[in-house]
Amino acid sequence: MSRINLHLTRRQALVGAVATTSALAMPSVLRAANKIVKVGALAPLTGDLALWGIPAKNGAEVWANQVNKTGGINVKGERYDVQVVSFDGAYVAEKTLQGARAFVDQDVKYTMVIGGDDWSALQDFSNRNKMLTSTLYVSDLNPTSKYLLAPVEVHPFYFGLGVEYLRKVEPNLKTAALCAQDDITGRTSLAYWRAGFDAHGFEIVSDAYFDNSTTDFAPIVSSMLQAKPDTVCIDTTYPSVALLLVEQLFTQGYKGRILHAGLELLPDMVARTSKEFMEGSIAFFPRFDDPNINASANGFSDAAGFYKQFEKQFPKQWNNTSWEFPGCLEVWKQGVETAGTFEPDDLLASLKANPPKHIFGAARWWGKELFGIDNALVGNWPIVAVKNGSVEIVEIGDQAAWFEAHKAIVEKRFREEKLMPDQKR
C-alpha cells in the first residue's frame, strides 16, 4: 500500500480551511437572505384519512420548494421563504384543535385543514387567535367563521355539475341509488347529490347511510341493487370504503355509471374489477398529468410542472389532495403579495376587495345566502370521467351558476339534513 505524504505550510492550511468552510457555509448564507414564513398543514397523517392528509401535506411541501426556488413571497419588497409545518389531527376535532394550538405557538401564518369533521372544534380558537385557515368543505362556513376561507375546493358544490353532465351524456337514465357513511362528510355530500338528482329529473330509488365502522359492504350493495338503479352514487365515502363498495358492485353484477368525488384508488379499483367496468365513472379531480391541465387549471402556476416535481419528490404518491393545499397556498400568496402583509384582518380585507384567481380561473366570493358569510371562492370546477382506466377532464362547469339555478332545491335538501347554519347546535 502506497503512502501519500502531504506537506502543507501554515498559510496553505489556513487558506484551505477558510475556503472549505466558506464553500460549506455558502448555501445557508445565500438562503439566509430571505426571511421565513410558516404555513401549516393540519391534516390526518395517520388512520383511514391519511390518504387525503399525506398527499395534501406533501403537495404543500413541493409548492413551497418551488416558490422558494423562484424567490419566495414578496411582501412590500421583502422576500420570505415558505416553510411548511405539519400536525397529525387524525381527522378528530379535538386533536385538530391541539394542532392549531401548536401552530399558534410556532407563529404559523396560514393553516390548511381538510374540513368537515376536523373543523368543528377549531372555530372559537380560530376567532380568538385570528387564525387564518382554509378548508376544502364549504359547509364548514357559518356567519361566525370569520377567519375561515374555502379558497379552492367547495365540496360538495360541484356535484350538481356532475349530475348535469350525466343527464347530458346519458339522457335515458332515470334512477339513482345513493349511499355514504354516516358522518358530516357523508351527510353533506348526499344532501347535495339529492338536490342534483332532483334538479335533473332522476328518481332516487335507494338512499342509505352506513355506520363508519362498517367493513362488510355486501348487504349495503345488494340493498341498493335490489332497487335496480341506472346509476350508483357512493359519495363521499372514504377512499378505502369506496374501493370495497366498487368491488361489491362488480361482484354483484352491477352494470352502469358510478359516481364518486375522488375515485382516489382508481388503479386498485381497475385491478379488482376491470377497465370496462370502471369506464365512464364520473369524478371531479383531474390528475395534473392530464394533457389539458395547464389550460384548465390556469389559476395555478404551471400545473404540469408541479406534477413532474411532485412525482420526482414523492414518486407514485400523487392523489387528489396533492394539488389542493398548494391551490390554497396560491390564493394566500396572491393575497399576501397584494395586501403587503400577513396580518389576517388586513389580508382578509384585501382578498375580499381584490378576489384572487381561483385554480380553475376567475372566481368570486360567495356563500352569504347559504352559509351567512361570503368566504367561499367559487369558480369553475372540472368534471372528469374514467377512460381506459384513468381519469380525463371532460367538461369544466360553473358551480355558482348551477347553484343559482337550483338553490331552492339545495336549501330544501340541506334543511332535511339540518345542515343550514341556523340548524347547527
Binding site: 397523517l45 384543535l97 394550538r101 405557538d105 372544534a121 372559537d124 380568538r128 354516516d182 358522518d183 365502522s213
Partner: protein
C-alpha cells in the same frame, strides 16, 4: 415524589407555550379517566364503556351550556350525575356477566350509546356540539377567563387533584378493600356473605361519576363534543395505558397515562409512521415488563400495601 409531581405540574404554564399547556390539560383529564377506570379493574373487570360514560358527561355539559346557559360548577355536577345514572342502568344487564362476556357487553352498550348520539339531532348528530364557551368566573371584582389555556389548566388540575384525593380515600376505605377482595377471591368473598354483584355495581357507577367529570372537563377544554372522540379507538387506548402503567397500585395507571401520552407526543416527528413506532415500543414494553411500569419502578412495595409481588391475579384481572 408526589410533591415533585405537583410542583412540576404547576410549573407547566410558566415554562411551556399554549400547546403544551393544553396538552398537559389533556393529560390531567386522562389521569382522572385512568384512575376512575381502575376502580372497575379493581373488581376484576375490564370495560369498553368507560370512554362513552365520559362522553355522557361531555354531552351533558354541552347541552347544559348550549340550551340552558349553565355555569361550569352546575355542568360539572350534572355531567357526573348523568354518567353515573347511565352506568346504573347499564349495570343491571351488564353485571350479570363476568370477564370476557362483560367486556363484550360493555362494547355493545358503548356502541349503542354512540349510535344514539349520532342519530338524534338533540345530541347534535354526527357533527356534535361546538362553541361551548369557556368558564368565566367573577369573584367580587376578580375576573378569571378560563378561555386562556393556562387558567383552564389550573382549574382542571384543581378538579382532578380533588377527585384523585377522593379516589385515594375510597380505595383505602372498607369499600375499596371489598373490591380488591372480589377481584382476588370472588368465590371466597361470596362465601362469607359479600354481595359481589352489588359491590361491582357500586364500583361501576362510582367510576362512571368520575368519568362524567372528566367528560365535562374535556368538553370545556376543547369547546366541542363529537361522537368520534368517544370511539372504540379511545377506549382501547385507555385500556393500553392502564395495562402498561399497571393497575395494582394507585399510581401505576397515572404513570402509564403520563408516560405513554408524553411518549406518543414525542414521536410526532415520525409523522405517519408514529402508530407503527408506538406499537413496536408497546410490544417491547409488554415483553420485557409485562406487569407494567409500576413494577419496573418498584412502587408496589411503596404504595401497594397488602399486595405482594406474588399476589394472585385473576384471569380477568390481567396486569
Amino acid at each position: 415524589m408526589t410533591t415533585t409531581l405537583a410542583i412540576a405540574a404547576c410549573a407547566v404554564p410558566f415554562v411551556a407555550g399554549d400547546y403544551y399547556t393544553s396538552f398537559a390539560t389533556e393529560i390531567a383529564i386522562t389521569v382522572l379517566m385512568l384512575s376512575s377506570y381502575r376502580i372497575v379493574v379493581l373488581t376484576g373487570e375490564w370495560s369498553f364503556a368507560h370512554v362513552v360514560l365520559q362522553g355522557a358527561g361531555a354531552y351533558t355539559a354541552a347541552i347544559m351550556v348550549k340550551d340552558h346557559g349553565a355555569s361550569f360548577p352546575i355542568s360539572l355536577v350534572a355531567g357526573s350525575i348523568v354518567a353515573a345514572a347511565i352506568a346504573a342502568v347499564l349495570s343491571m344487564p351488564l353485571l350479570k356477566m363476568r370477564g370476557f362476556y362483560f367486556l363484550m357487553g360493555t362494547f355493545a352498550a358503548a356502541e349503542a350509546i354512540r349510535l344514539l348520539w349520532r342519530k338524534f339531532t338533540y345530541f347534535g348528530g354526527t357533527r356534535g356540539f361546538s362553541g361551548i364557551s369557556a368558564p368565566y368566573f367573577d369573584f367580587g371584582g376578580v375576573q378569571i377567563d378560563f378561555g386562556r389555556s393556562a387558567n383552564y389548566y389550573f382549574l382542571t388540575l384543581a378538579v382532578v387533584a380533588a377527585c384523585l384525593v377522593l379516589l385515594w380515600r375510597l380505595e383505602r376505605s372498607r369499600l375499596g378493600k371489598v373490591w380488591k377482595t372480589i377481584e382476588q377471591q370472588d368465590v371466597l368473598a361470596q362465601s362469607v356473605g359479600i354481595d359481589t354483584r352489588r359491590y361491582r355495581r357500586i364500583a361501576f357507577v362510582i367510576a362512571a361519576a368520575f368519568a362524567g367529570i372528566a367528560g365535562v372537563l374535556l368538553a370545556y377544554a376543547f369547546g366541542s363534543v363529537t361522537p368520534n372522540r368517544f370511539s372504540l379507538n379511545f377506549a382501547l387506548y385507555l385500556m393500553i395505558w392502564a395495562i402498561v402503567g399497571g393497575t395494582r397500585t394507585f399510581f401505576g395507571v397515572i404513570v402509564g397515562g403520563i408516560v405513554l401520552m408524553a411518549f406518543d407526543e414525542s414521536l410526532r416527528f415520525a409523522e405517519q409512521l408514529r402508530p407503527g413506532v408506538y406499537g413496536v415500543i408497546l410490544i417491547l414494553v409488554m415483553l420485557f415488563w409485562p406487569q407494567g411500569l409500576e413494577r419496573l419502578i418498584g412502587w408496589t412495595g411503596l404504595y401497594g400495601r397488602g399486595v405482594s409481588k406474588a399476589a394472585p391475579v385473576s384471569s380477568e384481572g390481567g396486569a
